[in-house]
Symmetry: C2
Subunit: 198 residues, 2 copies
C-alpha cells in the first residue's frame, strides 16, 4: 500500500533497537513532513557515521582519520587505571560524572554473564597492552558492570583473567541501585559509585 | 567528548518524535556496530525519502514521479465517500482493516480541537474537488477522528464546513475505546468502527 521508499524505510528502521514498527512508521511520516533541507541533514547525519570506527586500544568510537579515541589520546588520563565497561553508552554515562581519571576497555555485551570469543579477544588485547606499557601490572582495574545477578556472574568470569593484571581489582560501589542499568543512573549516583569503589 | 559526526547524529535524532537523547545515543552506537553495507542501506533508506512528496488530492504520501497516491489513483475506490483523518498513520491503520471503499483527506494535526490555517486550506481544497467532480455533494463524509474530547471539539469545528458538502456526515462508531488513538486500535476494532458508522 505504501510507496516503496517509505516501506523500505519502515522495514529497515523497525529492526533497529528502541524502534518498533509503529515508531518507525511515525518517524517516517515525521521525516516526510520536514522540508528538504532538514531531511537532507538527517540523511547526512546517518551517512557521516561512516567516518567513524573503533579505537584499537579501548574499542570506543573514534574518527577513522585519527589513530586513537579522544580518551586514549589524552595524556592527562592515567593509563594505569582501567575501567572495564560492557557498552559504549556505559562509558559515556561514566564520563559525564567527570571524576574518573583513568582509561577504559569496552568489553562488548555478553550473553547472561558468559564471556564470548569477542570479549576474550579484547581481554587478551588488554593483557598485552598492560604487559607492553605497564610492565605487566596495572595499578587498578575497575569492573564497571551493573550489580545485577548477570553482572555478578560476569565479574566471576572476568576475575581469573584480570586478577594477575592489576594491583587492585575493584568494582563500582553499590550506589547504583541493584537491578538498575549504568546508563540510566544519574550523574550524582555515578560520582558516588566511582568515589566509593573498593 | 564524542566525535563530531556522532554528536551531530545524536543531536539531530534526539529531536525526532519517539526518540529522546538516550534512545538516539543507543541508536547511534547500534548503527556503528553494523557492517558498512548495512549502515549504507540505513543511510540510503533516509535519502530515498526525498523521492516522496504529498498527493495533491488527499495529502497522503506518494512518489514524486507519480501524479497521485495509490489510493487516489485506484479507480475501484469510490470518490463519493471520503474519510477525513488527522494523520497519515491513521489512514494506514484504517486501510489495514481493508473494508473502506472510499478515499481520504488527511487534515493534518490540530491544536486541541481547533482548525488551523493549513487545515482550513485543505478543507477548501476538498470543497472545490467536490464541486468540480461530484456536482457539489459527496455521498458521505466520515470524520474519522478519535472519540476523545479533543476529537469531539474538532468534529464540532468541522461540521459547518462539511455539512453542505455531503448527503451524510458520519463519524466512526464507538468501537474505538474512548480516549484511545486510532493508530493504536487493532484491525477488528477498526472494522467494527467502520461497519457501525452512523
Amino acid at each position: 500500500m505504501l510507496p516503496r521508499p517509505l516501506q523500505n524505510f519502515i522495514d529497515i528502521f523497525s529492526r533497529l533497537p528502541s524502534l518498533g514498527p509503529r515508531q518507525a512508521r511515525r518517524l517516517a511520516f515525521h521525516l516526510l513532513s520536514l522540508d528538504e533541507g532538514t531531511l537532507g541533514r538527517v540523511g547526512k547525519a546517518v551517512g557521516e557515521l561512516q567516518k567513524l570506527d573503533r579505537c584499537p586500544r579501548c574499542f570506543f568510537v573514534k574518527e577513522k582519520e585519527e589513530k586513537l579515541c579522544r580518551i586514549c589520546r589524552n595524556p592527562k588520563r592515567d593509563p594505569r587505571i582501567i575501567a572495564i565497561v560492557m557498552k559504549e553508552t556505559d562509558l559515556v554515562s561514566l564520563e559525564s560524572a567527570g571524576t574518573f581519571p583513568g582509561r577504559y576497555l569496552i568489553l562488548g555485551e555478553s550473553r547472561i554473564g558468559e564471556l564470548g570469543t569477542g570479549q576474550k579477544l579484547r581481554l587478551k588485547h588488554l593483557a598485552s597492552l598492560i604487559h607492553k606499557e605497564l610492565g605487566g601490572k596495572a595499578a587498578e582495574i575497575i569492573v564497571a558492570v551493573p550489580p545485577s545477578s548477570e553482572g555478578r556472574l560476569l565479574m566471576e568470569e572476568l576475575h581469573p583473567f584480570i586478577a594477575p593484571l592489576a594491583e587492585r581489582v575493584t568494582r563500582l560501589a553499590h550506589g547504583i541501585p541493584t537491578g538498575g542499568e549504568i546508563e540510566f543512573a544519574d550523574e550524582e549516583t555515578l560520582k558516588n559509585a566511582l568515589l566509593g569503589r573498593r
